[in-house]
């Protein structure tokens, strides 16, 4: 399809509705959302549906000595009650993208021991939320309180209570020592030798907070048990097939007994990346009661079920006087909370992200994944990347200033570039960079922000408001594809496309749209391949019964991996259409090409419309014109971003305002600029929240989460966000991506916090290493308090 690409006009400037790539076309789901007509999972209504409430532990660590549910069960309206006695004895795992043979399994549908304040003790299905809540309150539980480890240091201290006696990795049983789930080690070269070569060595310990994903939609599950014994499931999940698999395993029933319906999500950002504990509970209650059930988490419950992994990260960097990085050593203590969730995988990725930022001959990463008696963490946009990026990018600025080299220049000397190997997803996914626009985005970004002011700003120390500019640079993989066939990460997608009798197309993919517009991107890719307009491609709402497998919406893979598979399916369909057109026009198939809704004969003005082909195929009974493709990705593509931010620091209050953002991104060829810009805006706002105010706090005496709601957990509002926001793209083309495209979702987020940290340092002269940088920390850094 290179001919189509060559004809693609400049980004977003065309009015030709058939020029789909790079076109600023509104996504098809937007009008459904703007009219309130789109049904989110929480809007699903089934007659006779019960509501579920969960009894949660008030203790951070306690054994269940006894539970008496008799009063609850006797209450009118209560239809089913479950406790650990009803749960399957086999532990289950949560992750969607790991094969079952590898996944850590330490969850029981309902455990017999509570491991954090909020852990599940029992659940009730009743005729209303109110009845269910009263029934939950009527359950009598006797707990035996155990000592609790409420942070990672306490958890690994000698004598700390054992949070998990065992965890299963696939079928292998392991006993975590000192609450360490796993220790991840990666490395290259010899760091001791590397540091011996260095002229400058710096070392700092950073702490990065427990940030909550905070999608506006709360987790919701609806399970409808059918008369044939199957379960219909609607769920706020990033993967319908992944949920089907994990749910079936958790319940011990065949996959095929479950049909999960695809739904648009009200945001997710990783919060719906894995199966949580709530889905099996809802399913078990549906099975026990024989009635449709709904479990809608409260905001508090939702906020206490997922977060970014908080971490303490020690980084040691060695550099030569000429600005060459020679040694990098990172040790991270990663708090996964009460359950494994994706803690090990996030830490492996963190090591990979760390080792793939700069060309460093001697590198070592050690990551300790630690259980604590706190709410479990989960994947969150970036998947370990921001936790590593903040230390690395802080050090680049510190080293630059120490050596008197411009920070942009220092990055340009050291960054990993085209041809270099990089870790795309932990130690086992290695690929080479094929397209790389780092130099372009760094130099253009520096010009746009007025980077030359940085040195002068660093000298200004007087005045109530100090201004600073700072740079953060990041990358992320697009997908988890690997060349080798035996893999520890699942990475395949599928699409089926059919042509309707009016010449439009229907696309079926199990890929979930969490709000990013990834399905709109698919419509554009398919339309472009078929010579249709994007609005001629109808994206079906599907389910696991009727769609090919897709692993999960994550890892910035939607466009690069699933979009590529959709393109391949569309190419098959294109060839069928060409063949039929050749039959109709009585020419050789090689002479036919599709464009502008028509099949045209090269070198003539003869053509037949796609609608006419479809109608002819129906009349002549040639069969439905359709094609399918399902395949594994065998490559990844690194997308690169940088953010230059300008901040104002009020030295009297410590308050930080973000005044201007310049965001450069190498996402390959841009399929839809509106959608990509939206990713960059939103990713930045989340990163700025991470840098400035967001932190789930757990009371270190009681284990209670202090701020699990929007009245107390603070994210940026419209009044706090920076809207002076310049987005630009590198002129790159990724040969392995659909129409040259790469991902963007995660790196949109990865660089933002680092940029803020560096801008604040430029303003106040202190590199703050403890995030979020609250006003109080600024004043302490300034010595004001």
């Amino acid at each position: 399809m290179t001919d189509t690409v060559a004809e693609s006009p400049a980004v977003g400037t065309t009015s030709d509705p058939f020029a789909n790539i790079g076109r600023r076309v509104p996504k098809f789901d937007a009008i459904h959302k703007a009219t309130g007509r789109l049904k989110f999972v929480g809007d699903v209504r089934i007659a006779g549906m019960l509501d579920i409430k969960i009894l949660r532990s008030p203790h951070p660590h306690a054994e269940i000595v006894s539970i008496d549910t008799s009063r609850a069960e006797a209450m009118p309206g209560v239809k089913a009650v479950i406790t650990h006695r009803d749960a399957p004895a086999r532990p289950y795992g949560r992750e969607f993208a790991l094969p079952p043979e590898y996944m850590p399994r330490d969850n029981f549908v309902i455990p017999d021991k509570a491991r954090y304040v909020g852990d599940v003790v029992a659940a009730v299905a009743a005729t209303s939320v109110d009845v269910a809540a009263r029934a939950v309150a009527a359950i009598e539980v006797e707990y035996r309180k155990l000592p609790a480890a409420l942070n990672a240091s306490a958890a690994v201290a000698p004598g700390a209570a054992t949070i998990h006696d065992a965890v299963h990795w696939g079928e292998e049983r392991e006993v975590p020592r000192r609450n360490v789930l796993r220790t991840v080690e990666m490395g290259v070269g010899d760091v001791a030798a590397g540091f011996a070569e260095a002229d400058v060595i710096i070392e700092n310990t950073f702490t990065v907070p427990k940030q909550q994903q905070s999608p506006m939609e709360r987790r919701c599950i609806v399970v409808d048990p059918r008369p044939d014994g199957r379960l219909d499931v609607w769920c706020t999940t990033q993967s319908i097939h992944g949920l089907r698999h994990n749910l079936a395993r958790a319940l011990g029933i065949p996959y095929s007994r479950i049909n999960v319906h695809q739904s648009f999500l009200g945001g997710a950002f990783g919060a719906r990346l894995d199966m949580n504990v709530d889905e099996p509970i809802a399913a078990l209650l549906a099975m026990k009661s024989g009635l449709p059930v709904r479990l809608q988490l409260t905001r508090e419950e939702d906020m206490m079920s997922t977060s970014r992994h908080p971490a303490t990260v020690r980084l040691r960097s060695g550099m030569k006087r000429d600005g060459t990085l020679v040694a990098h050593e990172m040790e991270a203590h990663v708090d996964t909370g009460a359950y494994a969730c994706s803690g090990e995988w996030v830490t492996k990725c963190m090591g990979g992200w760390f080792m793939s930022m700069y060309r460093v001959p001697h590198q070592k990463f050690t990551g300790h994944v630690i259980y604590t008696n706190t709410p479990p963490a989960a994947g969150f946009r970036g998947f370990g990347n921001p936790q590593a990026n903040v230390p690395i990018e802080s050090h680049m600025d510190i080293l630059a200033d120490r050596l008197g080299i411009d920070p942009v220049e220092l990055r340009l000397r050291n960054y990993i570039r085209a041809g270099d190997a990089y870790f795309a997803q932990g130690p086992n996914v290695v690929d080479h960079i094929k397209s790389c626009g780092v130099e372009e985005i760094l130099t253009s970004g520096a010009r746009r922000i007025g980077w030359e002011r940085r040195a002068e700003l660093a000298r200004q120390k007087e005045g109530r408001i100090l201004k600073g500019i700072g740079l953060g640079r990041a990358f992320h993989t697009s997908g988890c594809g690997q060349a080798n066939e035996v893999s520890d990460i699942l990475e395949y997608a599928g699409s089926t496309i059919k042509i309707n009798e009016d010449g439009t197309a229907n696309l079926t993919t199990a890929l979930v749209d969490m709000g990013t517009g990834n399905l709109m991107g698919h419509a554009q890719i398919v339309a472009e391949t078929l010579g249709l307009r994007a609005e001629d491609v109808i994206v079906n709402v599907t389910d696991t019964d009727s769609s090919p497998y897709d692993v999960v919406t994550h890892a910035s893979r939607s466009t690069y991996v699933s979009g590529m598979v959709a393109k391949l399916a569309a190419e098959k369909l294109r060839d069928k259409l060409r063949e039929l057109a050749a039959r109709i026009l009585e020419v050789a198939v090689e002479d036919v090409a599709l464009a502008h809704g028509h099949a045209r004969v090269h070198g003539t003005d003869r053509s037949v419309s796609i609608e006419e082909i479809a109608r002819t195929a129906q009349m002549r009974q040639w069969g439905t014109i359709m094609a399918e493709e399902s395949r594994r990705a065998v490559t990844t593509a690194s997308h690169f971003t940088c953010k230059f931010v300008e901040v104002s620091v009020d030295t009297e209050t410590g308050h930080i305002t973000v005044d201007r953002v310049v965001a450069g991104s190498d996402v390959g060829n841009v399929i839809n600029p509106v959608l990509v810009e939206g990713q960059i805006h939103g990713g930045a706002a989340q990163a700025f929240g991470y840098a400035l105010m967001e932190e789930i706090q757990v009371d270190q005496d009681t284990g209670r989460t202090l701020n699990p709601d929007f009245l107390n957990y603070k994210i940026l509002t419209s009044r706090d966000a920076c809207r002076d926001f310049d987005v630009f793209f590198a002129d790159t083309y990724e040969d392995t991506g659909p129409f040259g495209a790469k991902g963007i979702g995660e790196s949109a987020n990865n660089d933002g916090a680092s940029a803020i940290v560096n801008a604040v340092a430029n303003a106040i002269g202190v590199h703050i290493t403890d995030l979020p940088i609250t006003p109080e920390k600024v004043l302490r850094a300034l010595g004001t308090i």
Binding site: E217, F710, L711
Partner: protein
């Protein structure tokens, strides 16, 4: 308050009859004494366009207009709406004839996941009804109670402000569905 009462699935002694106008049409329904307007709309009238993101006045996704004023329906007692006019996103416009704010959000990339969108639209309408000249900064100031986790508020505010220019051109205020 854990006093055990009868199951409240059907009509109970405490039920109240509520009569109000929703999106221009008179509606009568039965609600519990302290049921929220949000529950009345979503759970009784099946008007699920209005969202419920936190139930505690913290997110803004439940914003509707009562007699033109933007309120959080999750904390607005349904009975207080007796005789009043309630406007929700369902009455704002449709795909064929979208309200300028709807069209602007769709065209301008102001909709990502769409969960904040209905509340933002109702709040935006109230702001334009109050001050047809409100600009982007004014909108950003007053929409602080409508959280959005997707857009960073960049295209969201830009689109709403752009619609304002168009509405001023048409001599239209925000009250598309009063």
């Amino acid at each position: 308050m854990n006093r055990t009462g009868p199951a409240d699935t059907g009509r109970g002694a405490n039920d109240r009859l509520l009569t109000l106008v929703v999106n221009g049409d008179p509606v009568s329904l039965v609600v519990k004494p302290y049921e929220s307007l949000n529950s009345a709309l979503r759970d009784r009238l099946n008007l699920t366009g209005t969202k419920r993101g936190c139930d505690a006045g913290g997110c803004g996704t439940c914003t509707v207009r009562v007699d033109g004023q933007a309120v959080y329906s999750c904390m607005y007692p349904a009975l207080r709406a007796e005789g009043r006019s309630v406007a929700t996103v369902e009455g704002l416009g449709d795909a064929g004839r979208p309200h300028p704010l709807q069209a602007a959000l769709v065209e301008g990339g102001g909709v990502q996941c769409g969960y904040c969108t209905p509340g933002v639209l109702m709040a935006g309408c109230a702001l334009y009804a109050d001050d047809p000249d409100i600009d982007a900064d004014g909108l950003a100031e007053e929409l602080a109670g409508n959280l959005c986790r997707c857009t960073g508020y960049v295209k969201l505010i830009e689109a709403l402000a752009g619609a304002g220019e168009q509405m001023r051109g048409n001599g239209m205020r925000g009250n598309g569905n009063d």
